[in-house]
Symmetry: D2
Subunit: 383 residues, 4 copies
């Protein structure tokens, strides 16, 4: 394979008020390994073409379907597409990509329904194409390090996982202000069956899977809508039985006034504990029985070989959200290069389509349990 | 009333390995307002008498029943008694005190059963004697300040209370080591129907009552025993519906390896939030909508008049657990002085016998819910 | 020796607005090992006698000279005296105690001048009486643990010590408010040659001696008076050459608005570092080359045998300033018991009269250097 | 002006072991507003050309002199150049750029000597070209916010500035390991008259200028070399008299084992204080007299209009070093666009060539003072 930048497409992510498009573009560009090749960035053809030009995409398209079929014909077609639309378009866009031989990096939650997600799992398996779901916090080095420690058995058998994600921005009727980010998130047609759970609860649950390496088999959930006039939940509390007999609590809220984006987790084993919070995101707290509390600082301690290339700066020079997102792009890029036969370091096992489907299964079970007043409800298997 | 030290009795709290006796003696002595007058400190007569002498009590007794009846005859009888036995003796000792006209400061959980607690409520009301329950963290100034802010409406209507209490000391079979503190806590005859819930879950729940001024009406609970061979729960997770329509989560654990005593709470209202943790116990985090996060530091900011006398040092000179406990003793002493007609500042409304009974009602409902696989279960009223 | 409480005297520490008397009384009482026996608590005879009665001292005296000579005649004379007057009386009171065979626990700075301190050193040596100087922060367990680690060589050879002590309470002309604590501290007749240095700079310097085990041989100092109309310095910055060739910075300030009492230190060796701050006083941060940062938490990790008895509560139950002060009283009490032939654990080597004199030598050298525009100035030896 | 990306050149920043080249490339690319146009990236012609190709620069050059003269001839010549060589080449490269009409963003310290810096000041003024010096921490939003508050008078008159920068990576003879970053930093020919001061002390001093808006007029300094065999200082402590009569302490160290990059500052005024540390870089602590401590969190509170465009993510999504560096590039890009007559928001006043020269003046005065055993030494004016 020639020395070249990877070619990346983008669906959605344009227009004023859009949040995720910008960070993904930064993430794509930041390592100087990929370019913005093709974009279908807005919901109208004219808007989409204009936005692609404004944002220096090489090729603009009026809609994603056209983009996928046209790109598929090109010698220099895009290597993968980044999907950053509201949730209701994820499925169709991802499907179109896969059917045209294009890899996918898709925002979460993966789809509107578990059924759609399972369809994407099947399609991904049959095509063998790379597929990453943007559980962005799994791209943070300290979260990856936590996973490494747990998987090496540093903390023994897992008894309990606590994952949390409080935000405060929907404590009032923010959606009435016309803020685009708020409007679609409280709309079940665009957001899915759970508002708070789908938007941020899935992130919290993914820590159970990614860091602790476990999954929920049954849940007892309480979804609450605190702000009157809102259809979807803005508070999401789930108690889960885990596949290994352990317990997890997954709580997310959009009405915790004053909280910004204070996601975090604690994984408690028989011999130790790892704990991480976004409010102190450069550090990982590790407790091993009989030793003092240890704080692993980004850049201050050696990282496992599996994480090589996933940090960019010397110790004490903080990385952040953009770099985490860039790490997910790095993983799909490494997968693509490996498929192309290019010698490249192994991609870190960031969450893929199966993890996206697992998130949907968790949400659907939580919604059902909450409707049944918290009755224990099985979580569908997705593998 | 003459210028004198108040006279304090103690039941339990002697012997090697005892934890609470020492801190209470320190708390009684620290303000130079009270003396150790009468003690029935151990389970045998000989041990009890020797311990009273060793610990400089003015009068020793062989058992608490004798102490109460004998003291009742004295002109300089004790003003109140501090009960620091394992849970199974609280009821009888408190009853004996009240029946002999002696006030009570009793460790928590108040009794073994709700029924016993309700009996103490009745007896306290009929005698009019002062009764404080040692929810010690309510004596910490920053917790008191949180209560003041909430009750003044600083954070609006309460939507959610999160209270937590992780410890790690029972993550292994600590009780097999012969450690006195562990042995009785895992024994239902001495500890009651819930191990983790009764020991520390009650502390967490009291924040709902004391700080948020609310109570649980229904609970859905999961009590777990992680360490094999143990009868009582060592992990306690409760979701509660509150009397004002809000929600609370109360979680406590004795298997969070590496956690020391990391109790804390978050009270979330429509207009703000107060948050406190023992790991940063000298500070109270307060968020008021539209303002930056504020950190109230002990001694750094003026306190409400209602808290006058409840701090002892200039800012930046840390107070701690002993002072919190001394604050509970201060409150009962102020109540006693007021009853005696002495002009004294008003006692702060620290938790009393009703709050102790409310804690038992909460525990019993949680145990019942957990047996019913988390079914929503009503919490008995206690007032 | 019979089973008895130790008998403690107090000079100063009475009257409204007094700060140190109360904490010392709490410290004396808190372990139930000593009593308030004799007091000369105020500057007038009448006030002194009334205050002794009000504060439940067994015996009141009109002045300290009378107290020392009268007590010396008694069979149950006081074992030691606690001196908590403004600085200008320390020397005379301590001298009177020593000359009457009474041990001394004296507030810092030890005296008004180095000469007075050296006289006390001689007298203490010739009488063999116990003498502790109230560098109270050396009584905090995490500070003691830091000393233990450094003395065991955990961090290698010391290169640098940074000690700091910012306060903000004198940022305005607080002395004009009539606040007793402020008035005497800005008065050279009562406070000595340096205001900020004598009051809090000595605390910071003591970390160099106590924790790092080193002393300054030469200093270059800048003392500043920021608040106009004030005679003494309210800001104190010293660079020191240490006896082992290392460097220290000792900075103290009373005009750091918003700082409460945020004393701390960093000791930097060739192989590691220990760091502690009052704002996080229950934890000690330790870095050993090649390992992650470690946080020793009070009660969370085993302490060396030398510290046995110097903590009182299980992990996570915070101790504070009163306990630190009580630890200094514990050390002098252990010294007294050991002198009396009673088997008692060894007293921890808390700062004594020599350390008090060393503090005065440091202050005098700093004042001289500052007058000479920061010229390097030798620090007098005191041993 | 057409819709185009700005064209950026780079001098140095190639080769294995290089630290700064990568972050600058990320910073240039991250906002999708500029491209890597021309590079003279290594010290040999062949290496330089190969590196430019490997890193996707549009045009490669064998050396910077050729680059500047050749680019000057092009219609699409570079808009500015980023200089990331070791210190000894800054002067010549910047001079060549300015003489060819090309703007400069140069790493710090600006040059090897003050004389060179003053020459660049003259040349910049005469050409009117934009010139930014990469005091990267001034690009962090919370540092910018601190500056805004101070300049608005929020904390009153400045009395004292404390700035610090401890690192630990040179605590051993790291330079013997062959690590490129270490080798040149300890070599006076490449690094200048001060090792620690030039490398990181300048950053700390810049906080005095940028945040507090003040400058040093005289310094008393102690530069130390702790690691034997090293020519330059690895520890740098400076006491400064400020132009407004205030005081500053500027301390930097490369032997603080365990410190990563823990730069920070405190600005103390008559009415308040702002405080920031890299170890908590997303928050700014602000104390205003009479109010509780306030914590401004990135994204949690509104920013002044002057900072519009200098943050990229919603609250709680951490930005870091790359974004700070990108902010400096944003400022020079805005300056360039404004010069070209394009309507663009005003550039934030990030440090320019005069600030770079001021840093050199400070270093030279500190070196002279240290040679004179700390004698107060005037700092040359640079404006």
């Amino acid at each position: 394979m020639a020395h070249r930048k990877l070619r990346v497409g983008m669906v959605g992510g344009g227009g004023p008020g859009n949040f995720f498009g910008g960070p993904h573009r930064t993430a794509i560009l930041m390592d100087n390994t990929a370019e913005l090749t093709a974009g279908a960035l807005r919901s109208t053809k004219e808007g989409s073409l204009a936005e692609a030009e404004r944002l220096f995409f090489k090729r603009g398209y009026g809609d994603f379907a056209t983009m996928m079929t046209e790109e598929a014909k090109l010698a220099d077609k895009i290597d993968y597409v980044t999907i950053v639309t509201p949730n209701d378009s994820h499925y169709a866009a991802a499907k179109a990509a896969l059917e045209n031989g294009i890899g996918v990096l898709c925002e979460k939650p993966l789809t509107l329904t578990l059924e759609e997600s399972l369809d994407l799992v099947r399609l991904t398996k049959s095509t063998g194409l790379p597929f990453i779901v943007a559980y962005t916090y799994t791209g943070l080095p300290m979260v990856m390090l936590a996973r490494e420690m747990v998987s090496q058995g540093d903390i023994g058998e897992i008894r309990k996982v606590e994952a949390w994600y409080p935000q405060g921005w929907l404590a009032d009727r923010t959606e009435d202000s016309g803020l685009q980010q708020a409007t679609w998130r409280v709309d079940p047609k665009k957001s899915g069956a759970s508002g708070c759970g789908g938007d941020i609860g899935t992130h919290a649950y993914e820590f159970v899977r990614f860091v602790a390496g476990l999954s929920a088999t049954e849940v007892s959930a309480r979804l609450t809508t605190f702000v009157s006039g809102r259809v979807l939940d803005d508070d999401f509390t789930v108690l889960a039985r885990l596949c290994n007999g352990g317990t997890a609590t997954v709580s997310a809220s959009q009405v915790t006034v004053g909280a910004l984006n204070d996601v975090g987790f604690k994984v408690i084993g028989t011999k130790g504990r790892v704990e991480w919070s976004m409010t102190d995101h450069l550090n990982l707290q590790v407790y091993r029985s009989g030793q003092p509390l240890q704080v692993y600082r980004l850049g201050g301690d050696p990282l496992p070989d599996s994480m090589a290339g996933y940090t960019r700066l010397p110790g004490g020079h903080p990385e952040g959200f953009h770099e985490a997102l860039a790490n997910l792009h790095k993983s799909i890029q490494r997968q693509i290069l490996a498929r192309a036969g290019e010698a490249t370091p192994a991609a870190y096992p960031h969450p893929g389509v199966v993890d996206g489907a697992a998130g949907m299964a968790f949400i659907e079970a939580a919604v059902a349990s909450s409707h049944a007043s918290g009755a224990w409800t099985a979580v569908a298997g997705v593998d």
